[in-house]
């Protein structure tokens, strides 16, 4: 599952970085930094994936860089690196649960919630609210091309939550019956725009037109610092076979193209609230999260990690 994968992949990478740090034989700070940076670079290159992996690496490297000035030995920095790695892993373990607790407060009795795709964080909000005894119902979009919305519907229905499965096309039709939209996030940009499963921006637009609030459940490691210096998030295009089999496509026409972008971009003006494990912020507060988690990153620190391609795990 993509979203659960994002946290796991990041924490695995950070754990690997920690091991690299502990194994480094370097005794002076400079050599240690070199070893650590090399390891970081390798990890960043292994698998272009959700923002969480680079963010995890960045979380550790930023704290180590900050400690560099005062460090007298490699061992000092080793300690900082280990501690930062542990913190980040703990963060990935608890963020979704914490988001559930905070977000559940936004679900009132009797509301109709509309959700898109299959987000662990968004589901956490709904299941937490349900376990607290709140009564509400959910519209889940099927979410082409891989019908991930069916997974969401199944999870919620199993708990006893009333769920209605609808076509992605039907969001505008049903939006008049909806009280709030709740989705997850693949990434949040520095200006508070949302990168999420394709179709999300259409859900948000439909919601906006009838004054329905759009709530985004996003762990802090989904926030993307790259956009602070104008880097664009590149949107992955996946295999056309997710949309149509090669055989069916050949029956339609040899020169028919198929395009399968996995995400789209929802502008900040269509996002009403972002629920993070650190609290609820408006989209324009994305910078606060970025500063809190990564501090004031220098452009050099950012470019060191390169622009990566956002893709599904």
């Amino acid at each position: 599952m993509r979203v659960r994968g994002a946290g796991l992949i990041a924490s695995s990478a950070v754990t690997a970085l920690k091991i690299a740090a502990q194994k480094s034989p370097a005794e002076d700070p400079g050599s240690f930094m070199r070893d650590l940076s090399d390891a970081a670079r390798v990890l960043l290159e292994t698998r272009p994936t959700a923002v969480s992996l680079p963010n995890g690496i960045r979380y550790v490297m930023h704290r180590v860089n900050r400690a560099k000035a005062n460090a007298t030995s490699g061992a000092d920095l080793k300690l900082v690196a280990s501690k930062a790695a542990d913190e980040f892993v703990e963060l990935t373990r608890t963020a979704v649960e914490r988001i559930g607790e905070i977000g559940a407060k936004r679900i009132r009795d009797g509301v109709v919630v509309l959700t898109h795709c299959n987000s662990t964080a968004a589901i956490s909000v709904m299941t937490t609210a349900w376990r607290q005894g709140k009564k509400f119902e959910v519209y889940a979009t099927e979410t082409r091309p891989r019908f991930q919305g069916r997974l969401t519907a199944r999870v919620l229905a199993r708990l006893g939550i009333p769920v209605t499965l609808i076509l992605d096309d039907a969001v505008r039709y049903f939006m008049q019956d909806v009280d709030m939209v709740l989705v997850g996030a693949d990434a949040i940009t520095a200006n508070g725009a949302l990168v999420n499963k394709v179709g999300t921006s259409m859900v948000a637009l439909a919601a906006h037109e009838v004054h329905v609030n759009v709530n985004v459940a996003a762990e802090s490691y989904k926030f993307s610092p790259e956009t602070m210096i104008g880097e664009l998030v590149e949107i992955e295009e996946r295999d056309p076979s997710e949309i149509i089999s090669a055989k069916a496509l050949s029956q339609i026409g040899r020169r028919v193209k198929v395009r399968n972008p996995s995400f789209d971009l929802t502008p900040p003006e269509f996002v009403d609230a972002i629920i993070t494990e650190r609290g609820i912020i408006p989209p324009l507060g994305a910078m606060l999260i970025l500063q809190e988690v990564f501090g004031v990153l220098t452009p050099e620190e950012l470019t060191e990690y390169q622009t990566y391609k956002l893709s599904e795990a």
Partner: protein, 313 residues
């Protein structure tokens, strides 16, 4: 007793999933003609009763099909008029046959005329996005292609019945450049689009368009991106009922088209909804291309008033 030819065509409509209101109307008229010619009625009264039953059956099953209703009304007016002048069964049979053929021709001519008028609106190299299956839209695009304007088309697959694939096939067969996308990807590609061109199941007196579910969302996305939305509809799609305040009924189709026969359907609080159409308000439509010319949606009332068989007083 509804004639077997009529029963069969309605079954065909359901099972073979006929694409588009124009196609459905052709098929219904053919069945009505054949039923009339095969009638074993011995008096004109009996013939009229049979005829009435066939018409009512067609209307009941495809209540949402305005061109079908208009075509039946067209034939009904001719038949009633002849009957009131004392026509015999043989003459009534001829009337049904000729009247139905006449309407068929008018419908075909209207599509050809729409193609001419609509193609003029397409500029060389235009990138056009379409949704669902519309005979009029396909005719326009083929015409523009014939005129060497080289339009490139984004075709939405159009869940749940995926008639977009039929559109793609027909256009590709003519050598028109086609890119197939999922319905949710409209937002993502709208900035690469010059115009949105859609058909209409029905046009209401206030210029609102009833069309395949998802159309309203696409029109909203296009409006926001300042991309023109053109609707192609012959005047037979215009609905007189709406002039008298009747709401156009939105048909909900078999939910199994959305999810198939899943075990999830057995859960008591799990539902699937499958509205087949939605309503696009006039403000999201820039113009309507009819066989009589291009009109703003606000002028729809003028067309509606002229529908044959409808008394304004």
């Amino acid at each position: 007793m509804v004639h077997e030819d009529v029963l069969k065509v309605v079954d065909d409509m359901r099972i073979r999933q006929m694409r588009g209101g124009t196609v459905v109307t052709h098929a219904a008229l053919k069945a009505l003609r054949s039923a009339a010619l095969k009638s074993k009625a011995t008096s004109s009264k009996q013939f009229l009763a049979e005829f009435g039953e066939n018409v009512n059956y067609l209307l009941k099953i495809r209540a949402a099909s305005i061109p079908l209703a208009n075509s039946l009304r067209f034939v009904m007016v001719d038949v009633r008029q002849a009957a009131s002048h004392g026509a015999f069964v043989k003459e009534l049979q001829d009337i049904v046959s000729n009247s139905a053929r006449h309407f068929d021709r008018l419908l075909e001519e209207s599509v050809r005329e729409i193609a001419q008028i609509g193609a003029r609106r397409i500029k060389e190299g235009d990138v056009i996005m379409t949704h669902s299956y519309s005979s009029s839209v396909i005719a326009i695009l083929k015409k523009a292609h014939e005129q060497h304007k080289g339009p490139k088309i984004f075709v939405t697959e159009t869940r749940p019945e995926l008639e977009g694939r039929d559109v793609a096939r027909e256009l590709a067969a003519e050598g028109i450049g086609v890119t197939l996308i999922i319905d949710s990807a409209v937002s993502h590609f709208i900035d690469d689009t010059d115009k949105v061109l859609i058909g209409a199941e029905a046009v209401a007196a206030n210029g609102a368009i009833v069309n395949k579910i998802g159309t309203a969302t696409i029109a909203a996305v296009a409006q926001r991106a300042r991309v023109r939305v053109y609707a192609a509809a012959s005047t037979y799609k215009f609905s007189p009922e709406t002039m008298f305040g009747e709401l156009i009924e939105i048909e909900e189709r078999d939910p199994s088209y959305v999810l198939g026969h899943s075990r999830m359907n057995k859960q008591p609080h799990f539902h699937v909804r499958n509205p087949a159409f939605d309503v696009t308000s006039a403000q999201d439509i820039d113009l309507i291309i009819t066989e009589r010319g291009v009109i703003p949606p606000q002028a729809a009332i003028m067309i509606v008033r002229e529908q044959k068989g409808v008394s304004v007083s």
